[in-house]
């Protein structure tokens, strides 16, 4: 029954630098208030998925995906559809979105990868796990995949997450197996809104944020699921 310390790889990596360089030098890495380095785990539809270490805030999302030193571009020549920037619970970002940062309206791909900026644009850099989704994917199916994971992971201790996580999973399963209804987008939002902020642990946010952000940012695609045409064509019509 002895306590066991479980350290993140990223932490050990940070410690190594701090011991070697000293704290002062280390804090000169990165950008103000976002100092040091981060370990990025880049996955999904990129040519070169993998782990990369960056100086916090010195690299943009676009560079992480397209630069030869990192992802090397979207796979198979496909276009970019969405980025999940900080682990699967972080709110999704839609390709083509722009954000007011300082004086400028900044394109998604020019957003620097750090804590503060991602927070400012309504998501988070969280675990540093970036998932890239290309335009060959059906976005409803992507969310269904996440919802299945969260329904399975919920410990079940508290009511909103225990019941809500499986509820969302069932709805998305139905939607991706021919049973989608036009009201399902609103239905999903209703479920997710009743989870966030009302649970014992942060898993409530973790399971509801993907649903809230996917449905809000890709509403048309979710509504289109109920129509009897192929999803992709319908979804790409503005």
């Amino acid at each position: 029954m002895c306590p066991t310390i479980v350290n993140n790889v990223e932490t050990l990596c940070n410690v190594k630098h701090i011991v070697e360089m000293g704290a002062e030098q280390y804090t000169k890495l990165g950008t103000p208030n976002n100092t040091g380095t981060r370990l990025i785990s880049l996955s999904g539809d990129v040519k070169q998925p993998g782990y990369f270490e960056i100086e916090t805030g010195k690299v943009t999302l676009g560079e992480l995906i397209y630069d030869e030193n990192f992802g090397g571009g979207v796979r198979d020549g496909n276009g970019l559809q969405a980025i999940i920037p900080g682990g699967s619970s972080s709110k999704v970002l839609r390709a083509g979105e722009t954000f007011p940062i300082g004086e400028d309206e900044v394109d998604l791909l020019d957003v620097p990868y750090d804590f503060d900026t991602l927070m400012k644009i309504g998501t988070m850099s969280g675990s540093g796990a970036i998932i890239v989704i290309d335009d060959s994917r059906n976005i409803v199916e992507c969310l269904a995949n996440l919802a299945e994971f969260y329904a399975h992971e919920s410990c079940g201790q508290c009511t909103p997450c225990r019941e809500g996580s499986l509820w969302m999973n069932k709805a998305l399963h139905r939607m991706t197996h021919g049973g989608a209804r036009t009201e399902d987008a609103e239905y999903l939002l209703h479920i997710a809104q009743n989870i966030q902020g009302r649970t014992v642990c942060a898993f409530g946010e973790a399971c509801s944020w993907p649903v809230l952000s996917f449905v809000n940012k890709f509403k048309h695609e979710f509504e289109a699921k109920s129509l009897n045409t192929t999803d992709k064509e319908t979804a790409s019509t503005p």
Binding site: A151, G156, E163, W167, R174, H190, Q196, G197, V200
Partner: protein, 566 residues
């Protein structure tokens, strides 16, 4: 008198003011937790003071707080963070600035706190009835209901179910749920006395916490994850301590049912009567549930001086004898009550002083033992009560299995050691100095006065409820009543004098013992007595030292009784 009575200075209770629904209420800063320690008062408790009951499932005042059901979510307003000057932000008029709580990442969305585990903060505003709070409740109820089987028509809990109650009070009439429900086992044999319907369970964990923290038996837990969570014992280990049935009371829904009560009676047909358990000296307070002169269950009735909200399983289930077919119901030895009392009175009047012995069982009431004592005084009779002992434990169960040993001692029927005079009585009968024996509620053949000795007696008057070796030897058999069939009081091992009410009629011609003892005592002693239980009790309280010290009256006992010096 008033000048002499030393009134204790009331303990100073520190209070604070919070706003509930815009109204200022003064509440104590500290409140007792489940173990009786004083801890900061919570939002839920403050609302209760304000007369606004926050719905809750997992919270129970006598269990450790779990905070898992989220039913008690309530929207609140809080003072802001302390500024650089160390002071909280204020309004223009200098008053404390209170901001309704919002989600930190979505400031247009209100955030609730769980009332059961959120301590009061000075200045706090509790929006107990606001639309925001209402919406949070509706959502939690909707979540609890989506996978709920809704088998109220066949559910034993129907009529006393918190899911039914809260749904009609705080829920919506419709749910948008369009999926298939989760199915779980519906008839799990958790142990010898309990069946679990896992589909009805709202996973509040009250049963787990009760067993682990109160009954000291870490027997229950949850298996499977997320929405598939199911209450379970460890593998096939049965849930079998002497307190398991309390989980049926604690369970806010119909998930845990008592095998004894399952499908026996709809609860709304039950008449409730305040009573006591008579199975040991603890004197747990109970409620009898009965219908048409049949008893269906005992439930514990909360009394923090005695049993808290609990009772033991063996006491709870020990009521079947009341309705037994072989209950004594007719007077024998005489043609009926009137002649029996006249004949017995006449014989007792003739008896030589010291030739009568009286056994007043410690299952008789204080009033009955008092009347027997009056008889004994007049007849100079030797008296005693038979001891009954068994297993005790650290929670409630007392090794003294008589419900009124303390009463017997205080009234002077038995001395400290119940049964210590039986040998002397046996010798007296053997020697022919004791020729009459009156026995109420004990089988003396089990205590050294065997059948051969009983055969020597000129007069054997026996009153009991069920037949035994002593009743079969009686010259006069007077059928008595179970405590559920009369009113009266018992004195617990700790000196709590408590009353019980009548729930049922006795069988046939059986009568409450105090009624005919009163007639017998009047005839024999020539003194007038009281023919009502209130009068009788009050008279007794004047004469029995320990009762007199506390100025007991039938009325002053209230529903929870009064502790006397034992």
């Amino acid at each position: 008198m008033a000048e002499e009575t030393q009134t204790e200075a009331p303990a100073v209770v520190e209070t604070m003011v919070v706003k509930v629904d815009g109204r200022e209420v003064e509440v104590p800063k500290l409140t007792e937790d489940w173990q009786g320690n004083l801890v900061p008062t919570t939002v839920l408790q403050a609302c209760k003071h304000a007369g606004n009951e926050i719905p809750h499932y997992c919270y129970h005042p006598k269990l450790p707080v779990a905070g898992n059901c989220r039913m008690c979510l309530v929207h609140v307003g809080m003072p802001g963070r302390l500024g650089p000057d160390g002071k909280p932000p204020t309004n223009e008029d200098g008053s404390l600035k209170i901001d309704p709580m919002v989600l930190p990442y979505e400031r247009q969305t209100p955030k609730g706190v769980i009332g059961c585990a959120t301590n009061l903060v000075p200045g706090m505003e509790i929006y107990a009835s606001s639309p925001e709070t209402k919406q949070m409740r509706e959502a939690v109820l909707e979540s609890l209901l989506i996978n709920h089987p809704l088998d109220c028509p066949i559910c034993d809990q129907a009529g006393e179910c918190k899911l039914q109650e809260y749904s009609s009070e705080h829920g919506q009439s419709e749910s948008s749920f369009a999926e298939y429900k989760v199915h779980k086992p519906k008839k799990v044999n958790l142990g010898p006395r309990i069946i679990l319907d896992a589909e009805r369970c709202v996973l509040c964990t009250r049963c787990i916490r009760f067993s682990r923290d109160i009954a000291d038996d870490d027997a229950l837990g949850i298996v499977n994850r997320g929405s598939y969570n199911t209450i379970s014992t460890f593998l096939d280990t049965p849930f079998d301590n002497n307190y398991t049935l309390n989980t049926v009371d604690l369970c806010p829904v119909g998930a845990l049912t008592s095998k004894d009560f399952r499908f026996q009676m709809r609860v709304w047909f039950l008449k409730e009567t305040r009573s006591l358990c008579s199975s040991c000296g603890t004197g747990c307070n109970t409620l009898i549930g009965s219908r048409e002169n049949t008893m269906y269950r005992y439930e514990p009735r909360e009394n923090n001086a005695v049993n808290g909200p609990w009772m033991c399983d063996s006491g709870r289930l020990n009521y079947k004898w009341i309705g037994r077919e072989d209950r004594l119901s007719e007077v024998t030895g005489a043609s009926g009550w009137a002649t029996a009392i006249i004949e017995i009175s006449a014989k007792l009047e003739e008896a030589q002083p010291g030739s009568v012995a009286i056994i007043g069982g410690a299952r008789q009431t204080n009033e009955e033992l008092y009347l027997l004592k009056k008889l004994a005084n007049k007849l100079e009779a030797i008296t005693d009560s038979a001891p009954r002992s068994g297993q005790g434990d650290n929670l409630l169960c007392c090794p003294d299995k008589n419900p009124n040993s303390a009463g017997s001692r205080l009234i002077g029927i038995a001395n400290e050691d119940l049964g210590s005079r039986f040998a002397e009585i046996a010798q007296g009968i053997e020697a022919g100095t004791i020729t009459s024996l009156i026995v109420f509620g004990d089988d003396v053949t089990k205590h050294g006065i065997d059948e051969t000795l009983l055969d020597k007696l000129d007069l054997l008057v026996v009153s009991d409820i069920l037949p035994n070796a002593t009743t079969s030897k009686a010259h006069y058999l007077l059928p008595g009543c179970a405590h559920t069939e009369k009113r009266g009081t018992f004195t617990s091992v700790k000196g709590q004098v408590q009353k019980f009410m009548k729930a049922l009629d006795g069988p046939g011609n059986a009568r409450p013992e105090w009624e005919f003892l009163h007639e017998l005592a009047e005839n024999t002693t020539g003194q007038n007595g009281f023919s009502t239980i209130e009068g009788l009790f009050n008279q007794m309280a004047e004469e029995v030292e320990a009762f007199k010290d506390k100025e007991l009256t039938w009325a002053s006992l209230g529903n929870e009784g009064v502790t006397v010096e034992i």
